[in-house]
């Protein structure tokens, strides 16, 4: 297998399972892209070779445990933060499973990501430290860097459960060019039964697209784009007026381009039904697509030059050039 295309096609259309020739390679790619659980649920009920069926059955059971543990971790944060009376919004995987969305089915979930109002950060931090979370990074430069420029606190890890929490106060680094309106996101969030919140459907897409295309180097991008496919299908089905709402919201946060790109690539790779007028040609899409699929049948990362280019791009997006130079200089000297 030259790239991850086979995995994307199979996720989009499980009926192609009969045509898969190299299951071992496909499973390695799915593991490397953190999509084994999603694939396992997607192929449930489809006729498969015995060994494949067994591996995916185990993956489905594993994803149930992952889900339980993610919900428990969210509950632990809720208990620690409830006395503060500030809104606590779950983000990414934890939000998808807590809200019972299709994107959460089989999804891999590592850290707990939450969004809180910026003016409550000090109190949130104090409450988490009091409840057993500890700083991961000891380095003073890293710490200062997070606090001055990032959209989140330095990562905290719970000393007993060994699970990380990322506390965000907005969805992009403060140095990035788009400036999303985090206060509006919190104001429009939906409340779950237990008092925790999740972003509104349009904001969920905007956040996921921002994370994928306006931040980071696209590592794990195939999984993030699969989230976007599942979310777009579910939201568009539930609300006939979803697409204009999404565009309006994305514009407001300065992230329309990222959302459009997410839609185009999801349509291309997963057949996501996006509006006709979104399906324009964009010369850079093929580079993004190649980067998303850069994984061979041994699970190896391929296309090192392209990966490096996206790594450089991720820094470029985050910082003005002079600041970037200073940052890389400091990192390189230690």
């Amino acid at each position: 297998m030259r790239d991850a295309r086979v995995l994307a096609r199979l996720l989009a259309d499980p009926s192609r399972a009969g045509a898969v020739e190299d299951w071992t390679g496909l499973l390695s790619i799915a593991r490397a892209e953190s999509l084994l659980g999603s694939l396992a649920w997607r192929l449930k009920g489809i006729r498969l070779p015995d060994k494949v069926a067994q591996i995916l059955e185990v993956a489905r059971r594993d994803s149930e445990t992952v889900r339980t543990q993610a919900l428990w971790e969210a509950e632990m944060a809720r208990r620690a933060l409830a006395p503060l009376g500030v809104p606590v919004i779950l983000l990414k995987g934890s939000a998808y499973v807590a809200a019972g969305l299709a994107a959460g089915v089989g999804r891999s979930i590592g850290d707990l990501d939450i969004l809180v109002p910026r003016d409550s950060l000090d109190r949130v931090q104090a409450a988490l430290l009091a409840a057993g979370w500890e700083w991961v990074k000891e380095d003073a430069y890293d710490d200062l860097y997070y606090r001055r420029w990032m959209h989140e606190l330095p990562p905290l890890i719970h000393k007993e459960r060994d699970r990380m929490i990322d506390v965000h106060h907005t969805i992009l680094p403060l140095t990035a060019r788009p400036t999303p309106d985090a206060a509006a996101m919190i104001a429009d969030s939906a409340r779950l039964g237990n008092g925790l919140g999740v972003l509104s459907p349009p904001d969920m897409i905007v956040h996921s697209a921002a994370h994928l295309f306006a931040d980071g180097d696209l590592a794990g991008g195939l999984r993030n784009l699969w989230d976007i496919d599942r979310l777009l299908r579910e939201f568009a089905e539930a609300d006939a007026g979803f697409w204009p709402k999404l565009e309006e919201r994305a514009s407001r946060h300065g992230l329309l381009a990222a959302v459009h790109r997410a839609g185009r690539l999801a349509h291309d790779l997963y057949g996501t039904p996006v509006p006709e007028i979104w399906r324009v040609r964009d010369s850079a899409d093929s580079l993004f697509k190649a980067r998303l699929l850069a994984r061979d049948g041994w699970g190896r990362a391929t296309r090192p030059a392209l990966r490096f280019a996206f790594y450089v791009r991720s820094h470029w997006l985050r910082m003005p050039p002079l600041m970037l130079a200073r940052h890389l200089w400091t990192k390189a000297r230690r």
Partner: protein
Amino acid sequence: MKHRLDLRIGPVSFRIGSDWRSPLDALRRLYETYPEPDPVADFTVRLEAERVWRRWLRPSVAIRGDYVLPDAAPMALAHGLLAAEMGMNLQMALGQKRFLLLHAATVEKDGRALLMTGESGAGKSTLAALLGERGWRLMGDEFALLDLADGRLHPFPRAISLKNRAIALFDGVAPDRLGPLLADTPKGTIRHLRPGAEAIARMDEPAPPALILFPRYDPGFARAIRPVGAAEVFVRLTQASTNYVALGERGFAALAGLVAAIPARAIDYADTDMAAALVEELWDQ
């Protein structure tokens, strides 16, 4: 990758890829008599050069695969066989979710299994290999696979890695069962031993556990047998498990079931003959 070998050990199949031929040649010889692998592998192991030129220039083997330890040190190409074995162990330790995995040796007699676990250096691997030559069926020297549904142990009879002084104990076995002598590895001198024919022929045959032993080895020890309380057995087995936490409630239920049903003893021994005699004595009780 350039070279590939597929192996099946009990219920688990591996695909092993390598940038070099020699580690796979050694592995192929060692596993020559094992049955045909599954057409689909559970896990992929990759033995690859850290940088392209390190294939030829001071070649060193990085151990990668479906599951990776970020800070694993690369190994000398001369120890490629050990790297392959460590790669397979790593996939099991980090990726195996079908069974509760215990870092333990298992042997079987009369249709029932004896589980031996202890800290590194306790001699469980050597002891299991020795019992395997003395009328017991070796089920595995490294990992015991506890079935989450029915509590039986599944064999995982990989080649045993004999370390340092244990190597001389097996000078008498058929030479084709022994791998090359690997000197100066991170774990000292190592030689692999292919389990006996019965262990391989019956590697699809699970067995219910009957006894748990915590052996402890020191040349100065006096022979001793001690009871171990259920709570201590439970905690020690959670520490011996690589996936207890990852399995959540099912891991707890399987382990609690094991500890409630099976007696456990700690034994101290000063040499392997003493240990073997202790095991036979306890087994007959």
